[in-house]
Every structure is written in structure tokens, then in C-alpha cells.
């Protein structure tokens, strides 16, 4: 199990960096979907099954569809992006920054002795997810409903015809 998690962590980082570095927006959106899918695998392996399902279906599926729809509707070609950003190497420093940051983080963790405690499988939550979601965290549900309504209203306002404003 640990080997899968290490591989997925590496893949997630690579896909995340690819999503940031690609010039083509479609390729970036697909790399982001791949990063979400690997995060879903990590969550599933850690026992977070329902949120892994949401991550894969919503973040890897719906969000990618939204991005590709936005790219298609705006008809933004790669050349248009390149025209606006003549500096094609604007992201070239990112891999070096990430390698340096990773080394610094590992050295800092080793020198300061900072380490997360290992997971204790014996201490499992007694409550079911549904029970926690509907009974303990009911305020979150209301918050989610309000945010979704706000988003819907925002989209309606954004796509209102000009003469109706």
C-alpha cells in the first residue's frame, strides 16, 4: 500500500507541475484532471472513500469539463496565448524552485526534528460519515447550499444578455 502511495504522491506532484507549466490550456486542464485522479487514489488508499469518489467524479470530471468548455467557448487558440506572452520561458524556473524547496524542507525537517506522528489505525472514528455530515457538521451543509446558490446567481448574472442589464 505504501509503495502505491509514494508513486501516487510523485505522480500528483508531476501532474500538478505539468498543469502549471504547459502552454496549451487544454493540456493543462488534462494534467490537472490527472492530478485530481491521483489524489483520488491517495484518498482511497488512506480510507477516505467517499471524498475520493467526489474528488474523482467532481474535480477530475466536472472541473475538467468546465475548463474545456471555457476554452472552447472563448475560442482561445494557443497562438493567442503565445502572442500575449512572448516570454515563453516564464515558468522555466519552477522545477528548480521546487527542487530547492523540497531539499530545504527535508533538511529543515531533519534538523528541527519536526515529524508528523505515524497514523494510529487503532484510533478510528466511531461515527459513520453520514452521521457526522448530517448531525455534527450540519452547518457545513447550509454553507455549501448557500455557496452553490451564490455561484448559480453569479453565473446567471455573468451570462445575462447585455440589453437586460
Amino acid at each position: 500500500m505504501e509503495a502505491i502511495l509514494y508513486i501516487c504522491l510523485g505522480l500528483m506532484l508531476i501532474f500538478g507541475v505539468m498543469a502549471v507549466m504547459f502552454h496549451s490550456m487544454t493540456k493543462s486542464a488534462i494534467a490537472l484532471a490527472a492530478a485530481s485522479a491521483t489524489l483520488g487514489i491517495i484518498m482511497y488508499e488512506l480510507g477516505s472513500i467517499w471524498s475520493a469518489l467526489f474528488e474523482v467524479s467532481v474535480c477530475s470530471g466536472l472541473v475538467t469539463v468546465i475548463f474545456i468548455s471555457a476554452i472552447s467557448l472563448s475560442n482561445a487558440e494557443k497562438k493567442e496565448v503565445e502572442k500575449v506572452y512572448a516570454d515563453k520561458k516564464r515558468m522555466a524556473l519552477l522545477p528548480a524552485i521546487l527542487i530547492i524547496s523540497g531539499v530545504v524542507l527535508v533538511i529543515a525537517a531533519m534538523s528541527a526534528g519536526v515529524s508528523l506522528p505515524p497514523a494510529n489505525p487503532a484510533v478510528k472514528a466511531a461515527n459513520d460519515l453520514r452521521e457526522i455530515l448530517w448531525n455534527n457538521r450540519q452547518a457545513d451543509i447550509w454553507g455549501q447550499i448557500i455557496v452553490m446558490i451564490t455561484g448559480s446567481v453569479a453565473v446567471v448574472v455573468l451570462f445575462k444578455e447585455r440589453d437586460q442589464i
Binding site: 502549471v20 490537472l32 488512506l46 455549501q144
Partner: protein, 104 residues
């Protein structure tokens, strides 16, 4: 201590993803790219929440927070996509510097 233990590696990966997302926010002016940068940073946040639940043994509680953060993520993406399309319709470009020209 072992810095290459699974929990520590997850923490370091999350920090690196946040750095990548923030670097994207700093270095680009393209609206869709900025949204992708926010999404990449949000992946790290989701990873952190899951890690916290895994370490504490309260993975079910962590799942509720992850579901909430996913809902927020989607709404942010949808609104940003709407703004992107309108920006392109108005200016023919997705450069966010055009947003400064808006009045009202």
C-alpha cells in the same frame, strides 16, 4: 526521525504543490491559467485535510471537510470560467490586466 516517512512526504508534496500554485499565480496573467493555479493549490489543501484525518484517526470527519472544500472549489471554478468567457467576449483576450479597464 525519518523525513521520508509517508506522512512527512505527503506534507512536503503538499507544500511543493502550494509553491507551484502560487508561482503560477505570480507569473501568469492568463485567466484560465490562474484558475488552474488556484486548483493546484487547492489539491494540496485537500491532501492536507486528508492527511490530518489519517494521522488523527478521524478520517470520517476529514471527509466532510474535503467534501465542503470540493464544493467551494467547483463554485470558484465555475464563476472564474464565467468571468473568463465574458472577458474574452469583451476584449478578445484572457489577460486579466484587461479587468482593470472595467468600470462600475
Amino acid at each position: 526521525m525519518n523525513p521520508f516517512a509517508l506522512e512527512n512526504m505527503m506534507l512536503i508534496t503538499g507544500f511543493l504543490l502550494i509553491i507551484a500554485g502560487c508561482y503560477c499565480l505570480i507569473r501568469t496573467y492568463h485567466m484560465i491559467k490562474i484558475t488552474i493555479g488556484i486548483e493546484v493549490a487547492m489539491k494540496a489543501v485537500t491532501l492536507f485535510i486528508t492527511l490530518a484525518g489519517y494521522v488523527n484517526g478521524k478520517i470520517d470527519l476529514a471527509q466532510t471537510f474535503v467534501i465542503t472544500s470540493i464544493v467551494m472549489e467547483v463554485v470558484v471554478t465555475v464563476v472564474a470560467a464565467g468571468i473568463t468567457i465574458n472577458l474574452y467576449k469583451k476584449y478578445g483576450s484572457m489577460d486579466i490586466r484587461n479587468l482593470r479597464k472595467l468600470k462600475g
